[in-house]
Amino acid sequence: MKRGLVIALALVLFAVLVPGVFAQKITVWCWDPNFNGYSMKQAALVYNKTHPNVQIDIVDVAQDIEAKISAGLQAGGAGLPDIALFQDFRIEQFLHDYPDGFVDLKAAGVDYSKFAAYKVGPMTVGSHIYGIPFDTGSTGLWLRTDYMKQAGLNPDSYAGKKMKWAEVVNLGVTIKAKTGQPLLSYQSDNFDMLRIVVQSTGGQFFKPDGSLNLRSDAFKKSLALFKELNDKGLLYPVVGWSDWINSINSDKAAGFLNAIWMVGTVKSRPENAGKYMIVPTPLIEGVSGAANASNNGGSSWYVFASSPNKAAAVDFLKSVWATATPDTLAFYNTILKGAGAMGTFLPSQAGSNYTAKDEFFYKSQPVYKDFAGWMANVPVLKYTPNYQPMRDAVAHAMLKYFQGQIATVDDTIAAAEAEYKQVMGQ
């Protein structure tokens, strides 16, 4: 009787422990189940074909992912996953402040000549390279053709048109007058849209020595443009990311200015089918180096040095995300159409979806081909480790300018500089 019990217990223990010993588990943190979470899931499927005993857990950490990671790094890696996704504009700060926190993937044999060079910049410190580049944030102006038609405009005459901002303002005024819809859904506390405009001019927020560079002509012209959009009622202001997504999917405006990765969000609402048209990012006039192209967002995968499954995590990222095989190329092709995730692994860009028409968009626009084409012209933006405080300070000053608490562009810049210095303790 007793022996029977012992055997039963041993069997249970065996059943519980054995998979833990032989199978490996890799945990990944990212923040959007329809986008990067979806892409990672597809990658896991590819990897499991050849490594069925590796379990890849994808955790959606939507709230405060960076705070959780910095707490974990501060605690020497306690509570951290094996792999996490970082915004490109955030990673320099983490690499700078936690120099031993991440695994050098160049040393692990990743061939970075196969990735878009602008993605590799922020993840490079000296001779070390730490990340696996994920997606591009090539931008465009997303317009609702149904509102354009309601306003008596012919969308076809705008298709593919490289507009100047003055034309866009006119378009917005017409739509607003005829339909009452503001032109753009706009996150009023957020920096992203301003960044898109400034980057399209080739402007930089920091000087090469790392100090603030907000007094450029490009920046001043961009601020003035935003004030004009605001004062003419062409912006529908919301607070916070989720409200912004909601405003887009509940017809609060006739469009928005953002990147290719919005494809997944727009497609998540069937009523949007056939309505959206995406035209090149508008151009700021009178700034040399300006282009009808820009970038917003974009993120990359990193392995924590504290991870007990480092080797497995690196092998997974390397063999799916950074090696060209028929399976991995098919994977990159899948996530492009499935979620609008345009990888930056150069061999993948010959995939069939890169040129395919997408019937979800107005007149089946080949949106991926368009975004990829604009991508080639995007001026490169340097982030530096202090991008986040700059981003907040500028967004705050701009909001005050919109609301009349600050009167001029110059005062707005001064206010942003002052807040940046306060937060940085300079």
Partner: protein
């Protein structure tokens, strides 16, 4: 004699055994952090590295207008919201205790429910209601109370009102429960005597109920005040990172952002926490003195 000593020693050992877990947790989660904060506070922290700067963090704080402004917001919230909330809670408690006879249980539940609802849910709800063309603005425009939509979340003044509305909505019911318990412990004879003497309901409320509930009002005031000093979730989620443009930034949220988000500066955050704790302590002391706490706590 010897026996008794052994027994006492046994009792002693048993006593220590019983308190050991709480002493351990106190040590690990309270004493150790407090002691180590003495080290943190003298340093400028930056992720994995840090340097000794003595009292530099306090000097920096004195010049940090964002922190001072954030403390100011804490005081605004406290001075306006806490008295309103306590008065409302008291009023609701009296109404529930005497006035409303039917559905009392359901009413109590409805009023208490907000304080046990997840803040994320509350924020989603409030933000849907308070959007530029959300229900609040639409109703008020529809009934011609206002002509243009109010920027509940966008405008620095109205965002503060929003925060106060949200905290009041969330915590009034919680405080009301304490007042209800207090009311039920009052002797009904006092009220009957007042009734006989011809005192009105309002007179009874201000001359009998309120004075007798002072200990509970004091408790509510102290916990609400220190709660307001620690206010972090509402401005972080509801008005989004203390927005608009730091318009609802509170001391606790700024501390959190300096430590975990913007700068990874745990030294500066510790120094600011010291100041907040000190202020909360002084305020509690003043309140206890003002409301005659010594008598009340006896």
């Amino acid at each position: 004699m010897a026996l008794r000593g052994t027994y006492e020693r046994y009792l002693n050992r048993f006593g220590w055994f019983c308190v050991a877990p709480s002493v351990l947790f106190f040590g690990v989660f309270l004493a150790y952090p407090i002691l180590s904060s003495l080290y943190y506070v003298t340093r400028r922290w930056k992720g994995a590295t840090n340097t000794f700067i003595g009292l530099g963090n306090f000097v920096r704080m004195a010049h940090d207008s964002i922190f001072l402004q954030a403390l100011g917001h804490n005081f605004i919230f406290m001075a306006i919201q806490v008295p309103i909330m306590i008065f409302l809670a008291l009023l609701l408690a009296v109404l529930l205790n005497q006035g409303i006879r039917s559905f009392r249980g359901a009413m109590r539940l409805a009023i208490f429910l907000p304080s046990v609802t997840s803040l994320v849910v509350v924020s989603v709800l409030f933000r849907a209601l308070l959007q530029e063309n959300g229900l609040f603005n639409n109703l008020m425009i529809g009934s011609h109370l206002i002509s243009a939509p109010i920027g509940w979340l966008n405008n620095s003044f109205w965002a503060k009102v929003t925060i106060m509305l949200a905290i009041t909505w969330r915590w009034t019911g919680y405080n009301m429960v304490f007042f209800l318990v207090g009311l039920q412990s009052l002797d009904s004879q006092i009220f009957e005597a007042a009734e006989v003497d011809g005192a009105s309901r309002a007179r009874q409320f201000f001359s009998i109920t309120v004075p007798l509930l002072v200990p509970i009002i004091l408790f509510s005031a102290v916990t609400s005040t220190s709660g307001t000093m620690q206010l972090i979730e509402e401005p972080n989620i509801l008005t989004f990172q203390g927005g608009p443009a730091n318009g609802t930034m509170t001391a606790a949220l700024y501390i959190y952002r300096q430590a975990f988000f913007v700068n990874f500066d745990f030294g500066y955050s510790t120094a600011m926490s010291y100041v907040v704790v000190l202020i909360a302590g002084i305020l509690a002391f003043i309140q206890i003195r003002l409301l005659g706490g010594e008598r009340a706590t006896r």
